[in-house]
C-alpha cells in the first residue's frame, strides 16, 4: 500500500512546487477556467496544443506523421504511469508554457527539456514494449533488445514524429484546423437560394 501511495506522488524534487501549484490552481480556478477555455486543456485532444500558435510546427509535423492516427500529443508528452502524475505534469508544463507565451518570450526554435525527453522515452516504450521486447520482434532487428532499451528511441528514430526541421519559420503556412468555412459563404448562400 505504501508502495502504491509512493508511486502516486510526484518525483522528489517537485513535491513542494506541486503543493504551491495546487494552491494557485484552486485559487484562480474558476477565473482561469472561464477566460482561457481551460476545460479544453484537460482533454487529450491534440488540437488543444495549437491554441498556441507556437505549437503549429509540431502540430503540422505530427499531423503528417504515421503517429497521427494512433498517438496524440499527450500520449507522448505526458507521463502515463499513473493518473495523478499525468495531471500534475500537465499542470506544471502548461503553466510554464502559458507564462512564457503570455510574456511573448517564445523562442523560434523550441527544444525539449531533459525531463520531457524522459517522459517521451517512457511513452515510446509504453506503446512499443511488446515489439521491442518479445523475441519474435527482436528476431527481426539487428540490434539487441538490451542495446535499444538503454538508448533513447529518438536517437535512431530522428524523424518520429516531428522530423528535424520544425521551427516556426520552417512551416510558415502550416494549416491548423479551423474548419468553420468548409463551405464558403457564397456557395452556402446560392445553395440555400436555389433550394427555395
Amino acid at each position: 500500500m505504501r508502495e502504491f501511495i509512493k508511486k502516486l506522488l510526484p518525483p522528489n524534487g517537485w513535491q513542494v512546487p506541486v503543493v504551491i501549484l495546487l494552491g494557485i490552481i484552486i485559487g484562480l480556478g474558476l477565473y482561469i477556467f472561464r477566460i482561457s477555455n481551460a476545460s479544453s486543456y484537460l482533454s487529450d485532444n491534440s488540437e488543444t496544443c495549437i491554441n498556441c500558435h507556437v505549437m503549429n510546427p509540431q502540430y503540422a509535423t505530427w499531423v503528417h506523421s504515421s503517429h497521427r492516427e494512433v498517438a496524440n500529443c499527450n500520449d507522448c508528452h505526458v507521463p502515463h504511469n499513473n493518473v495523478l502524475n499525468k495531471y500534475y505534469f500537465k499542470a506544471k508544463d502548461g503553466l510554464r508554457h502559458a507564462t512564457i507565451f503570455t510574456m511573448r518570450d517564445e523562442p523560434q526554435v523550441i527544444f525539449i527539456k531533459e525531463e520531457g525527453k524522459e517522459v517521451v522515452q517512457q511513452n515510446c516504450i509504453r506503446c512499443h514494449e511488446k515489439l521491442v521486447t518479445d523475441n519474435a520482434g527482436i528476431a527481426r532487428f539487428e540490434t539487441s533488445k538490451h542495446f535499444r532499451m538503454e538508448r533513447s528511441c529518438v536517437e535512431c528514430h530522428r524523424e518520429t514524429p516531428h522530423g528535424r526541421v520544425n521551427s516556426l519559420a520552417a512551416v510558415p503556412n502550416a494549416q491548423i484546423p479551423k474548419l468553420e468555412t468548409v463551405v464558403p459563404g457564397w456557395l452556402d448562400k446560392i445553395m440555400n437560394k436555389s433550394k427555395k
Binding site: S66, T181, V183, L187
Partner: protein
C-alpha cells in the same frame, strides 16, 4: 486569440480576391505550393499502369471501343494526367466534339464542373442550376484556368473548402453534414469533389443537366446500381446489344473509402500530396501525381519497407485485379456480340429483357473497377469482390444467350470480332473517325483561339493588386 497568427507569418505579395481563378496570382503569395503545383504539367513518369504521360486507353485496350459502342467514350479516352491539363484535355477530347457555336455540340456545360477554378466564379455569377444549363460550348470563353487553388482553398484563410455543390448535396441526401468534417477528412473530401462517380440528373431543374452523385444508398457497386435501377436511369443504349447501359466515371473516393487506408484514417493528400522539405521549409507538395514517383515522401512516412518492395506491393495488387478485370472485359465484348447476333436472328424484346439487364449490371461492375485508375491499389479486396460478381453475371447472361441462340437455330460459338487495334475496333462499331478528327482540327483552329482571346481580355481587365 493568437491561434491563427501563423497563417499570416508570410508576407502576402498580392491581394487574392474571392473567386480568383488565376493560379499564378495565388502563386505570388505561395511560391512553393505554386511551383510544385506547376509540376503537374510534367510528362516524364510512367508506372506499370498509370503515370503522368498521355496514355491512349483505346489504343492500349481496343475492347473498350466495343464496350462503349454508341457512346462518346468509344471515340476518345485517355488515362488522366496532371491537373494542369484539365482544360486542355477536355477541349481536345473528341468526346466534347466540335461545336460550331455556343448552342452546338454533344456535351452539356456541366462537363466543365470538374475542370477549373473558373467554375465557382461562374456558379456564383449565374447560380448553380443556371450553370448546368445549355451546351458545353456556351462557357468556352469563361473557363480557361486549369484546376487550381480556388477549387480547394478559401483565399482569406487558406483553409480547405468545398467549392462544388454536388458533394455538399450528396452528403445532405445521405443525412450527413459536410461542415462537420474533420481536418483529416477534408484532406480527402477536397478530392471527392471530382474523383467520384456522377451522372446528370435532368429531373431536378428543367433544362439543367444537374450534376449528381448517386450515393444515396451507399458507395459499393451494388448500392449505386440499385440507385440507378430504381430510377430507371441509363446513360445510353448500347449500339450492338441495345442494352440500357450505365457508365461509371472514376469512383475514386467511393472505392478508396472501402479500403484499409481509409479505414486507418489515411487521406488522399497523405499519399498524393505529402509533406516536402525544401530550403529548410516544409510544405504540402502540390505536385499531385502517382505516389509511385515519390515513394520516399508518401508511403515511407508510414512504411519502412524499401522502395522496391513497396512498388512490388502495388504492382502485385494491380496485377491480381487486372487479370480478372481484363477477362471480364473480354466476356462483355462476347456478350454484346452474341446479343447482336440474337437480335439479328429475330429475338424478341421479351426474350432479350433479362439478358440485357445482365449485360448492364456486369459492365457497370467492370467499369466501377476500371474507371478509377487507383482502385486496384486503393481497395483491392473490394474491387476483386466486385469483379467476381461481374463475371458471374456476365456469364449468366451468356448462358441465357446460348440457350436463346440455340432456340433461334444458331448453336455454336459466335466468332470474336477482330478488334486487335483501336482503328479496327472503331471500324467494327462503325465510327467515322476521319470525319470526327477533321472536324476537331477545325474546331481547334477556329473556335479555341476565340475563347482564349475572350479570356485574355477579361483577365487583363482584372489586373493584379500588389500590396
Amino acid at each position: 486569440e493568437r491561434r491563427s497568427e501563423t497563417a499570416y507569418v508570410y508576407k502576402p505579395q498580392v491581394k487574392i480576391n474571392d473567386w480568383e481563378p488565376r493560379n499564378e496570382v495565388w502563386g505570388k503569395n505561395f511560391p512553393r505550393e505554386f511551383q510544385s503545383y506547376r509540376q503537374t504539367a510534367q510528362r516524364d513518369f510512367k508506372s506499370k499502369y498509370n503515370g503522368n504521360v498521355m496514355i491512349d486507353m483505346l489504343e492500349v485496350d481496343p475492347r473498350l471501343v466495343v464496350l462503349w459502342a454508341g457512346y462518346g467514350f468509344s471515340k476518345d479516352y485517355n488515362q488522366g494526367r496532371g491537373h494542369a491539363y484539365a482544360v486542355e484535355d477536355v477541349r481536345n477530347s473528341l468526346r466534347t466534339g466540335s461545336p460550331k457555336n455556343e448552342n452546338d455540340g454533344p456535351m452539356p456545360s456541366t462537363c466543365w464542373t470538374c475542370k477549373s477554378p473558373d467554375v465557382p466564379r461562374m456558379m456564383n455569377q449565374a447560380g448553380i442550376a443556371e450553370f448546368y444549363k445549355g451546351k458545353w460550348a456556351r462557357l468556352g470563353g469563361e473557363i480557361v484556368n486549369p484546376i487550381g487553388c480556388a477549387d480547394c482553398h478559401d483565399p482569406e484563410t487558406m483553409n480547405l473548402q468545398i467549392s462544388r455543390p454536388a458533394l455538399i448535396e450528396a452528403f445532405e441526401r445521405q443525412g450527413k453534414d459536410i461542415t462537420k468534417a474533420s481536418h483529416q477528412e477534408m484532406r480527402s473530401l477536397v478530392c471527392a469533389q471530382c474523383h467520384v462517380e456522377y451522372y446528370f440528373n435532368k429531373e431536378i431543374v428543367e433544362g439543367a443537366q444537374y450534376l449528381t452523385f448517386p450515393w444515396d444508398n451507399g458507395y459499393t457497386a451494388e448500392k449505386m446500381e440499385a440507385y440507378y435501377d430504381n430510377r430507371g436511369f441509363s446513360d445510353w443504349t448500347h449500339a450492338l446489344s441495345k442494352a440500357p447501359m450505365l457508365k461509371a466515371q472514376h469512383p475514386g473516393y467511393e472505392t478508396y473509402m472501402t479500403g484499409v487506408h481509409a479505414a486507418r484514417g489515411v487521406s488522399c493528400a497523405d499519399c498524393h500530396m505529402p509533406y516536402k522539405s525544401e530550403g529548410g521549409q516544409k510544405f504540402t507538395d502540390h505536385h499531385i501525381q502517382s505516389p509511385l514517383n515519390n515513394v520516399a515522401n508518401s508511403c515511407q512516412v508510414c512504411h519502412r519497407q524499401e522502395t522496391a518492395q513497396l512498388l512490388k506491393d502495388v504492382f502485385e495488387r494491380q496485377d491480381r485485379i487486372i487479370e480478372n478485370r481484363d477477362k471480364l472485359e473480354e466476356l462483355l465484348v462476347r456478350a454484346h456480340v452474341e446479343a447482336k447476333k440474337a437480335w439479328d436472328l429475330g429475338a424478341t424484346k421479351e426474350q432479350m429483357q433479362g439478358i440485357l439487364m445482365d449485360i448492364r449490371h456486369a459492365q457497370w461492375r467492370w467499369d466501377y473497377a476500371a474507371a478509377a485508375h487507383g482502385a486496384s491499389f486503393h481497395s483491392p479486396v473490394e474491387i476483386g469482390r466486385t469483379i467476381s460478381t461481374g463475371i458471374t453475371i456476365a456469364q449468366e447472361g451468356r448462358i441465357k444467350l446460348a440457350r436463346l441462340l440455340a432456340d433461334l437455330g444458331f448453336n455454336e460459338e459466335v466468332p470474336y470480332p477482330d478488334i486487335s487495334t483501336k482503328a479496327k475496333a472503331q471500324e467494327f462499331i462503325g465510327l467515322p473517325m476521319d470525319k470526327l478528327n477533321e472536324e476537331k482540327e477545325e474546331f481547334k483552329e477556329t473556335i479555341l483561339p476565340k475563347w482564349d482571346e475572350e479570356a485574355r481580355k477579361r483577365e487583363d481587365a482584372w489586373g493584379v493588386s500588389y500590396n
